[in-house]
């Protein structure tokens, strides 16, 4: 049985109320996030993703509606909001804003220390988290400002993972990472999620990354929740996604076209590995490779 960890009720956020630029960034969103699930969040730029997740960890206060963590309204006692931020950890879209200490390691230690852990324990956690994100040891004593874009991102992720939150929210964590870094980080997040059995929310514009990690998808469109369903179900609706500025992963598009050409393949296939497994027996028979210099089939 699934158990709800986070729930929103008619959640709404407006920026600049009473100014000419008043903007409803999130409108009437009511969703339930299950304990232990890996939830992907997609949506066009400006659809409200970052605003929504900032409300989930109490960084900004809803204009109206509620956020419930384990059934409790997180704003019931505003003084306790700090505790919510430790339980719902967030890696920001632009990690630069999350790095402010003299050295990378000090930055990563900051979170666990702030939670009240002893110096040694905080340091141990920080080192573990840094190694986990693939941040090279030679960078640990550097100033965060001397890191390349991708290195900064790893440092910011390490800082949040070091707090070991129950809900880990990552706002476009793979933006700016090189392909291998992207693969490694996603594999590590998936592994961490399996081991810790915590809840992960991954916001991303890479349909390919989302396709191979998320169990369910939340699709935001023009400030509203447009869909909340299993990943395969969402990615079986190409036309609807395209209307919202999104698309299915490239591999899914290919298998859908191959299916139309008569190949026996599940049209909601989400990874290259999976596509290969299904296509290989059929295509090997249908299109055998001719050996050079021989006309034998």
């Amino acid at each position: 049985m699934s158990e709800t960890i986070l729930e929103t009720k008619n959640l709404t956020y407006q920026y600049g109320i009473g100014t000419p630029f008043e903007k409803t960034a999130v409108e009437d969103v009511s969703i339930s996030i299950e304990k232990g699930e890996f939830l992907g969040v997609i949506g066009h730029t400006g659809s409200g993703k970052s605003t929504l997740i900032q409300m989930l960890n109490g960084l900004i206060r809803p204009t109206s509606g509620q956020v419930l963590l384990d059934g409790q309204d997180i704003w019931a006692e505003p003084k306790k909001i700090r505790a919510v931020r430790f339980r719902v950890g967030m890696v920001f879209q632009y990690p630069e804003y999350q790095l402010f200490e003299e050295t990378v390691l000090k930055d990563i230690v900051f979170g666990p220390k702030n939670m009240g852990l002893s110096d040694e324990e905080a340091l141990a956690r920080a080192k573990e988290a840094a190694a986990f994100t693939g941040l090279k040891e030679e960078l640990w004593e550097k100033s965060p400002f001397e890191l390349s874009g991708g290195e900064k991102r790893r440092a910011a992720i390490a800082g949040v993972i070091a707090m070991d939150p129950d809900v880990l929210i990552l706002d476009e964590p793979t933006a700016g990472l090189d392909p291998r870094g992207r693969d490694v980080l996603l594999a590590q997040i998936t592994q961490y999620h399996k081991k810790r059995q915590n809840t992960v929310m991954l916001v991303s514009h890479s349909m390919e990354d989302i396709g191979r990690t998320a169990d369910r998808l939340l699709v935001m469109n023009q400030s509203r929740c447009a869909m909340l369903a299993p990943t395969k179900e969402v990615f079986s609706q190409s036309a609807k996604l395209e209307q919202m500025g999104l698309r299915v992963p490239q591999i899914t598009k290919i298998v859908q076209e191959l299916g139309a050409l008569g190949c026996p393949v599940d049209p909601s296939t989400l990874t290259v590995d999976d596509a290969l497994k299904q296509l290989l027996p059929y295509l090997k028979q249908k299109l055998p490779r001719k050996e050079a210099g021989s006309d034998a089939v």
């Binding site: 001397e146 291998r180 050409l261 001719k290």
Partner: protein
């Protein structure tokens, strides 16, 4: 003569007093006027450093960067070099300076001394090109990540430089936004002959360039047409890169014994190929 010439360039960053770190180790590269070059490489390999050398924001430790024949490392050439090479920075927040979107976009052309009526036209056109015209009176710091990125791109388009260097311009954009930016870049390149250097970690964008340069640890590792570079699947992966999913699928099918006439680089080419053979 090539539009940008990089001649045996070494570059080091100053660290704590006394310490330096060399991050570019003897780069030689020529980019011709009107080329569209994608610059790839693992995190920290030196791409952004290269981009900043191209428009004189950074000065080589040794060697030379020539832009249209001008030494980009010389103080007195600064303005002339920036008239020729516009740079969209990796993090748009480092680029957005004004309090209102349209002022921000006007900032670059103003600094180049473009007359006001002309600036007005360019700003409107650039904002329309990135689909941010209706946000022209908003405050840049109050936009979403992807919206900021679009404004930063508009700011450089409005400068109408002969060369535009874009450092991961699509990192925060949704799929349609990425496609639109790619279309804008291709249009500037094809219709206006603007030289483009696109730094990206998205392989499906790199395959749309005319030439792909792969860097590794401060050196140039590969340099060629996309078809040549992306054929080397294993080599790219060894250097932390990847190939588009269409390419990966066909490469692995072929390796496992399926006969295919070519290894396509895009979804469209892949589907087109299967339509022919199946």
């Amino acid at each position: 003569m090539a539009f940008i010439q990089v001649k045996d360039v070494h570059f080091s960053y100053d660290l704590e007093p006394g310490a330096r770190k060399e991050v570019l180790h003897g780069i030689n590269l020529e980019i011709g006027e009107g080329e569209f070059v994608a610059l790839l490489g693992h995190n920290g390999c030196g791409k952004s450093t290269m981009a900043k050398l191209f428009n004189g924001m950074l000065v080589p430790g040794s060697g030379q960067v020539l832009v249209d024949g001008l030494d980009a490392g010389k103080e007195e050439n600064q303005l002339e070099v920036r008239r020729r090479v516009g740079l969209v920075l990796q993090n748009p927040d480092n680029q957005l300076v004004a309090g209102i979107v349209e002022e921000d976009v006007a900032f670059g052309p103003e600094n180049l001394g473009v007359p006001p009526e002309e600036i007005r036209k360019r700003v409107d056109a650039a904002l329309k090109a990135v689909d941010m015209y209706h946000y022209r009176e908003h405050a840049p710091h109050k936009l979403s990540g992807g919206q900021k990125q679009r404004v930063a791109i508009a700011g450089i388009i409005a400068m109408e430089t002969r060369c535009i260097v874009l450092d991961e311009p699509t990192a925060m954009l949704d799929p349609r936004g990425r496609q639109e930016v790619m279309e804008t870049i291709l249009r500037l390149n094809r219709e206006k002959g603007i030289t483009i250097v696109l730094i990206t970690h998205y392989m499906d964008e790199a395959v749309q360039a005319g030439r792909v340069v792969v860097m590794d640890e401060g050196k140039v590792l590969m340099d060629g047409a996309p078809q040549e570079v992306f054929r080397q699947v294993e080599r790219l992966k060894r250097h932390d890169l990847d190939v588009p999913q269409a390419t990966e699928l066909c490469y692995r099918l072929q390796a496992a014994g399926v006969g295919l006439p070519e290894i396509p680089l895009s979804v469209e080419k892949c589907v087109g190929m299967f339509k022919e053979v199946l």
